[in-house]
């Protein structure tokens, strides 16, 4: 007998995403028949606002596109401008940028871990991981003066040099976090409840993954080894030694395993960065921010964020202000077209769980 279909509105507030987003579900019993993503709760028209601000004035804006991991935005915008203008960035600044990107990846994974466990009803994990993430936030505070939004990377390099003794602090924090990983394994990754919920759920079709625009851990969770840091190394990733973990299966579990292994890689990258970071300048000063005419041109740059390929398409018409900045967040695909596809057939109780595993961040969708 065909069960009666009902419509369910999930969100805009719910644990599946960092931010506000609603999924309109058609369900039969507790099985999703159709899912439709609804966004618009966070639209601030940043891209449009940038067209009314000078290039440097745009930096405090872009970081707000992503709360858990704002730094790829700053780095992308900086690199896009630098590419259009042909500006050199001091080597030290590049190392500092990589350090920040990896720290923010770790912080984002910590938050993801909390969310992923939380959506499975395992509430101790978020308590831990949010607490541990705070140590990274403390590092950011000391380095950049800001805890969540850093406004620290900008065109030409970074705004300030490392404070005294900062490198040691980072290393100590890395040692601590590394020592915590086995504990997270026991609490979370080995947890029977999590494994039961995660395995075989939210499967992405490996054959379709590339064409569908799946990126980041979800892609690597399909056993496909692509990572912007390797495919198109930026900053100094080509001088660092790390592996790109993959996991077969395409389900929530594989994505979790990829992230878990990447945390170790990030810790290792940060150690290498601190070891190799050269002395010297950290900022190649741009002209007066009120009077900076960036030459005509366009650039598409991308980074590997915690959620995958994060891209910026920036266009300058030779004026003081950007002609266009168009942000490509991984959630744009993961949270709309992909989500709508793979939610079909899922259990209602798995919806938030699956969303979290994709790393859906609504402000990336609507900016």
């Amino acid at each position: 007998m065909r069960e009666k279909e009902t419509t369910l509105y999930l969100g805009p507030q719910h644990p599946g995403v960092t931010g506000n987003m609603m999924v309109k579900l058609k369900v039969a019993g507790d099985t999703v028949v159709k899912a439709e993503t609804h966004v618009g709760y966070l639209h601030r028209a940043f891209e449009k606002l940038m067209e009314q601000r000078t290039w440097m004035q745009s930096f405090p804006i872009v970081c707000r596109i992503c709360v858990p991991e704002p730094d790829p935005n700053e780095e992308n915008l900086a690199r896009a401008i630098e590419e259009i203008e042909g500006r050199e960035v001091p080597e030290r600044a590049k190392y500092i940028r990589v350090m920040i990107l990896e720290l923010s990846r770790l912080a984002a994974y910590m938050l993801w871990m909390g969310g992923q466990a939380g959506t499975a009803g395992l509430y101790t994990v978020p308590q831990w991981s949010v607490g541990d993430r705070d140590y990274i936030i403390d590092l950011f505070e000391e380095l950049t003066g800001g805890r969540i939004y850093h406004m620290y990377i900008w065109a030409g390099g970074v705004r300030r040099d490392l404070p005294e003794g900062f490198a040691d602090k980072v290393l100590r924090t890395m040692d601590y976090l590394e020592s915590r990983l086995p504990e997270y394994d026991k609490l979370f990754f080995e947890n029977a409840i999590f494994q039961k919920r995660a395995k075989g759920v939210g499967i992405i079709d490996k054959d379709k993954a590339l064409e569908w625009g799946v990126v980041g851990p979800p892609l690597r969770g399909c056993g496909i080894k692509h990572d912007v840091r390797i495919d198109e190394p930026y900053e100094v990733y080509d001088k660092l030694d790390f592996v790109v973990p993959t996991h077969e299966g395409g389900d929530v579990w594989s994505r979790a395993m990829v992230r878990r292994q990447e945390m170790e890689q990030s810790i290792s990258i940060i150690r290498q960065v601190i070891d190799k970071m050269p002395a010297g300048e950290y900022y190649n000063k741009v002209p007066n921010p009120l009077n900076w005419y960036v030459p005509e041109g366009d650039a598409y740059v991308k980074t590997e964020s915690a959620r995958g390929e994060f891209g910026y398409y920036a266009v300058s018409d030779g004026g003081l202000k950007p002609r266009r900045v168009h942000v490509r967040g991984p959630a744009y695909v993961h949270g709309v077209s992909l989500l709508e596809k793979i939610l079909v057939g899922a259990n209602i109780s798995d919806v938030a769980f699956i969303m979290n595993s994709l790393g859906v961040c609504p402000p990336e969708i609507e900016r």
Partner: protein, 196 residues
Amino acid sequence: MKTQNINIEKEIATEIQNTFHTAEVNIKRNKRIEVKLRNDLIPPFLSYAKNYLTFNHLAHFSCVDWIEQNEFELVYIIYSYEKGVIVLAKTRIDREKAEFVTTRHLWYQAETYERELHEMFGINFKGNDRLNEFILEDWEGIPPYRRDFDTVKYATDNFYTRPGREDAKDVRENVTKINKEEIPEFAKEYSVRSLK
């Protein structure tokens, strides 16, 4: 910039040029090729790039408003994982009659991009039957990402400002007052303060 090895880019560029004679192909740097095309050639080009040249990742789809020329520039940013190269396929369409064809049949997620550009720029993508409300709600005015949409005016029309800041002065104006200086009309737009 360092001298870069761009052999693969050259290969791809030649290949494209040989297939699409009217295309303007330009290697921007390593891993970046720009292809400017007549707009009716975009669908065949994208399908060719995807199916023959392995550009199977639609990384981004953007629109730039060149209001001065009364044109929209559509930019398809496609990537070949195999070749490690990005192609920026660009074309211009009429801004008044903002219409184009969908590429949803090539990349299923193009639908979302087209929904966004439909909403923000008012471009109609023929063949996409899901150009419904996406980010905005009950929007009536001109599509807000068009250059002629005035955000400041929108904000002042729709929101009130908290009182208490009316005593703000403009520095340049204040100095002119001290000076008894008269800035001629034609020079006023050159006051940097007009940035605001």
